[in-house]
Amino acid sequence: MHNMPADPTLHHAPPQGFIRKYIFSIDHKVIGKQYYALGLVAVVTGMVLSWIMRVHLGWTNARIPGVGFFTPAGAPGGLMTPELYLQIMTMHATLMVFFVLTVAPFAAYGNFFLPIQVGAEDMPFPHINMMSFWVTLVAFCVLVSSFFVGDGPTLAGWTSYAPLSAVGAAAGPGQGTGQVLWAVSIAIFCVGQLLGSLNFIPTTLDLRAKGMTFSRMPYTVWAWFITSLMGLTAFAVLMPACVLLILDHVAGTSFFVASNLVVNDQLVPHAGGSTLLWQHLFWFFGHPEVYIAIVPGMGIVSHVLSTNLRRPLLSYKVVIGSMLTIAFLSYMVYGHHMFVSGMNPVSSLAFSFPTLIITIPATIIVLIWLGSIYKSRLRINSASLFALGFISMFISGGISGFFLAQPTIDIMLHATYFVVGHFHLVMAVAAIFGIFAGTYFWFPKMFGRMLDERLGKIHFWLTFVGAYCIFMPFHYLGFAANVRRYQAFVDDYTVHLIPVHRFITIAALATGAAQFIFLYNIIHSRFWGKPAPENPWEATSLEWTIPSPPPFDNFGGKHPIVTHDAYQYGVDGPDGKDYVMQDAPEGIAPQAPAES
């Protein structure tokens, strides 16, 4: 260790007592773990919900044990009603998109590792940081509470298209209280994430250790930084949209509800609202949200991969540049969700081109990953396996985006299972693989215990193969024009596809079950895993220069001085190592990666 002497004053004193230490903690590491736990709870809930949906889709008249017990009205005797299916679908999507894909890779890992990787003691505003978690938790509770009030949660889908989401209970079960609770929850969630960005951005800009120049920041730091910039703009737009929606519900305004609507034979009192307004506001948030979910994954994969390739990626600048380009373009492409929405067909074309073009930076990143494996010293462990899995998934999901980027083809594929397959692969599964890669890579640092590698590999194989078995067939269903968000397929051209649905259902149940291996692994290893050394993966970035788990103020009162970039691998380092730590003494001048 080559560090500064102890700092006379700490940023803030270590908390005393259980409550301040673990519950209302202002320590970014604890807050990170809290976010991670929230993500775990949400992902398990969401997964169970998806099981129920899948079983119902495969065997529509099957009585699902347990469901009847939880909602006697929604599933009399375990027999699912259409409204319950849609409500479960909505909750699955909302939980996964907001409370898993946004929370886990961004808020959880970002909180834990961003300050450490830039060599800071903590986030600049620890109390705001604490608030951001608790606000997010409140949002989660409000959302889940909608299961238990009135006639259940909203069935309007995670996109909550108005006017279905705005005209109230007459439109269907859950469209009263349930819908309002949904909007309230999402509005609160936006506040939580904005508070998060309030910390992430200054941390990256102002709290970097001496010598931690922009070009020496790990990929993950860049990813979280870019993500918080996107979150800043996206969530700041979604929040007022939700407020407008709530007002339409409870205050009788007409922002989204057009004139002369007749719902259930009753003339709706609202007038003059714009239906497309909601779609524009929502998707202006919605598409960047997709990248908010995936960019941290890209960062984690780049970080994990270069460690396990034992070489830097081909070009640091190109990867960062591509990420920035993606973030920038993501605001110009949202219209591709609305090709057939009655939007001006010219603007459909206008939206189509950036959508196609945004695949260029994505392709570049993938090619850089592929090219970097060439003649590397790839190490196979759970983390690197999931990183490689991420690449495979990202390729598959990204390429299917080419279909949906074209208005012409969208006429056939819009709102079919092709879309479901596409965004699950590229956004959900890929992002989740990123989360897994991060967990297997960072768990030793977070908890000071090693995860069980054997279980990790089993988990990878079941998840990797399982995910493909689930989501590839979705594309075939889409080509067969199988419409999504149907609770059953009756007497129509989709009946012959039911066997495919059953296959998917079985794959989903199996893959889901495999995740409990992971749960067991992290819980068991947390307490009984073998103690983790300081730098188990022979990595170079700052989080590996400190004990596992890190002390309260990360660097034990010292201040790292960064002298090398984050990926000095495959070099002839000090005492026979093939890498050089970021804070290694100036004296060590590593050779550039040796050519063969």
């Binding site: 714009s274 970097s372 003649k375 196979i380 083809i409 056939m412 080509f479 419409v483 968000r485 596809l497």
Partner: protein
């Protein structure tokens, strides 16, 4: 482990391609005059992206196979061309695809959306509501009677809110639950929603268009095969969404006139 992963990736890649190459599950065959444009566009995209998909997955697999678990004795090598080469490659490959698909695609899109319906296109009105479509034919006078939302009542089957006692134009309007059209006659479909957002999707006809409450939208298409096809809703509209359907029958001109007379009699 690494070699196994490589093999698995290749098996998955090729396995995923089989059902598509083998046409296991396909959309209903096209029965519209513009549909082939979409189908061509689709198959072009399929070929181009399919190749990219297979190639990239296989490269990934091969690299994993070759370069996993190499010891220190192997030197780190650099991909010929390096990052710059890859950037150029990406721009060439993706760029060409973007131009090929994007530019050519606009042609088909324009065919559907920019070309106005012909002068003698047959107007048919469709109204979407929870959870059914209803259709209206203008009748002999060729004029649709005005709609009075306050008079809409499914209880009395006045789905469009027509005032047949006062509006002359409404008297001969023909309201039906099924859409029948003559073959090889261009149809000008006038769409409006009664309550919420819905969508009008006829896979066999290669048309899909949302209903937007408060907006009057329109579509035009020509069917060139006699038969009975499904109209489904693709915009989540509530608990009955899955069962929001109607049938579109393409008839010979004579049959169509017969059918229209029957329906007129039932009004």
């Amino acid at each position: 482990m690494a070699k196994l992963l490589a093999v698995t990736i290749i098996i998955i890649a090729i396995g995923s391609a089989i059902p598509i190459v083998g046409h296991y599950w396909e959309a209903p065959a096209n029965v519209s005059t513009h549909g082939h444009l979409i189908d061509d566009q689709m198959s072009d995209t399929m070929v181009e992206t399919g190749i990219c998909f297979l190639v990239s997955q296989i490269i990934l697999a091969v690299f994993i196979w070759k370069y996993a678990n190499r010891g220190r004795e192997h030197r780190i090598g650099r991909l010929p061309g390096g990052a710059l080469g890859l950037v150029i490659l990406a721009f060439l490959v993706v760029g060409s695809e973007v131009i090929a698909l994007g530019v050519l695609g606009t042609h088909a899109w324009a065919e559907v959306y920019f070309k106005p319906p012909g002068p003698n296109a047959m107007p048919v009105q469709v109204q979407a509501g929870q959870f059914a479509f209803y259709f209206r034919y203008p009748g002999p006078d060729g004029v649709f009677g005005p709609i009075h939302p306050d008079m809409i009542s499914e209880a009395t089957e006045n789905f469009f809110g027509l005032d047949t006692t006062h509006d002359a134009a409404s008297k001969d309007d023909i309201v039906t639950a099924e859409m029948d059209i003559p073959i090889n006659r261009e149809i000008h479909l006038l769409m409006h929603s009664k309550d919420l957002g819905h969508s009008f999707f006829v896979p066999a006809m290669r048309i899909q268009q949302d209903f937007v409450p408060g907006l009057d939208l329109s579509l035009h298409f020509t069917a060139d095969k006699i038969g009975r096809y499904e109209i489904v809703c693709t915009q989540l509209c509530g608990l009955g969404h899955y069962n929001m359907k109607a049938y579109l029958s393409v008839l010979s001109p004579d049959d169509f006139d017969k059918w229209l007379k029957q329906e007129a009699a039932l009004q």
